[in-house]
Structures are given as C-alpha cells and as structure tokens.
Amino acid sequence: MDELELLGQVDPPAPGVLDAAREVLWSAVAAEMLATGPAGPRTASADPDRSAQRRREQPGA
C-alpha cells in the first residue's frame, strides 16, 4: 500500500491559503456571536456572574 500512499502525496498549502479560509470561518463565528451576544444563548438566570453584574448596574431592575 506504500506506493498508493505515495501516489496521493501533495504539497502542504501555502500559509496564506489557510489564513484566507480561517477568515471565512471567523466571519461566520463573529456573525453568530454578534447575533447571540458574547455569552451565547445562555440566559441571565443561567449565568450567575452576569446576573449579579446586571443587578449592580441596574439596582432597580
């Protein structure tokens, strides 16, 4: 099977190629993070730290 493996050898991609593809992914990631907020879909009640911070910032809430 070694000969078959040799047949499939290709050079690694240029660094810029990987960077460009990562940029495409990051755009999708960023869009989702913006849509859901930095804490994602967690609710305030499910995130004690954020709930406490919100109470400090909005004491009347």
Binding site: M1, D2, E3, L4, E5, L6, L7, G8, Q9, V10, D11, P12, P13, A14, V17, L18, A20, A21, R22, E23, V24, L25, W26, A28, V29, E32, M33, T36, A39, G40, P41, R42
Partner: protein, 186 residues
C-alpha cells in the same frame, strides 16, 4: 500541569452551546489534512478555493455532529466530499440527469498527480476499480482513516466499507506485488 487536550467532540459540542469560537480550534487541527483531501481530488487551486466553504458548511452543521466522536476528520471529509461534488456538478454545467451519481473525475485526478509517470500500472489498476471501492481505498490509503471512519465519510455501513476495501486491495494485489525486490503486498 498541562490539561489533556480536549477532543474534537468536546470542542464542537461547546461551540454549539454558546461558544462558537471553540470551533476554530477544531479547524486549526485539521486544516492541512482537509486541504490535502481536496487537493488530491481536485487540485491545489480548487482546494484553495473550496476550503473556506468547507469550514462554513461544517460550522453551520456542527449541531449535527456526534460529540462522542473524538476525531472530527471523518465528518469534515464527508462535508468536503459534498462540497467537491457540488463543485463538480456546477463546473459541468448541470449536464447530468437528476439523481445521477457524481463521482470523482478520476482521469483528471490522475493528470494532477506528480508521481503519475512512475506508477502507471498502479494508476491503471486504481482507475479500473469501481468508484465505490476506490472511494474507500483512497480514504484509507491517502487520508489514513480506518475502514470504520471511511464508512462515516461515505455514509455507508462499516461492514460495507470493509468488504469494498477488501475487494479493492485484492484487485490491486497483483500490481502492488509485481516485479521488483522491494515491493510489498499490503
């Protein structure tokens, strides 16, 4: 003390539960391998062009990944395969009949292989294989997958992948075990 590395499954699960950025770590692990998968089948230029499409499709579909799988490569190769098939379908101008199977354009693949001139008998034997056997064989030989992982890529039962691999290896054995003192029959 270093923590053990998280599995792909753990990272993808986390990315689907409010931390989408965790998905990027999975891609960093496998980007060279997935580019190689594309380049072996469609050439470097097409691989360069399609890699980002693979990532966005994988990211969009990550909720469907089974986090019990530690290695995401079979899943990513399956997505890359679908992206390639869509590319081939589009590049041929939709000249196929509805439902007609799109397979690797093997003649074009061969033309791109640098080592083609040195291995004509082997190439002829691989070309003569049925497409479904060739798919399994090359996933194992080129992508270093197990037959079970190849089955995941192709969406077929593991037993089917094993039997196809066995038939392909049997067909290639005369070529791989041909004349020459250093030939191996594996």
């Amino acid at each position: 003390m270093n923590r053990p590395a998280e599995t792909d499954g753990t990272l993808i699960e986390r990315s689907a539960r409010g931390r989408p950025d965790a998905f990027v770590e999975v891609i960093l692990r496998h980007e060279v391998a997935v580019h190689g998968f594309l380049a072996r089948r469609a050439g470097r230029q097409v691989a360069d062009d399609l890699l980002g499409e693979v990532w966005t499709r994988a990211f969009a579909g990550r909720a469907g990944f089974d986090p019990a799988h530690a290695d995401a490569r079979p899943w990513l190769y399956g997505i890359a395969r679908n992206v390639l098939r869509a590319h081939w379908r589009a590049s041929r101008g939709g000249g196929r009949r509805p439902g007609e199977e799109v397979t690797d354009p093997w003649d074009e693949v061969i033309d791109r292989l640098d080592s083609a001139a040195r291995a004509k008998p082997l190439i002829s034997a691989v070309r003569a294989l049925p497409a479904e056997e060739r798919d399994v064989l090359l996933l194992v030989a080129w992508e270093q997958l197990t037959p079970a992982q190849a089955a995941t890529v192709l969406g077929i039962p593991q037993g089917t992948a094993r039997s196809r691999l066995h038939r392909a290896r049997t067909a290639l054995r005369p070529v791989l075990a041909g004349p020459g003192p250093d030939r191996k029959g594996s």
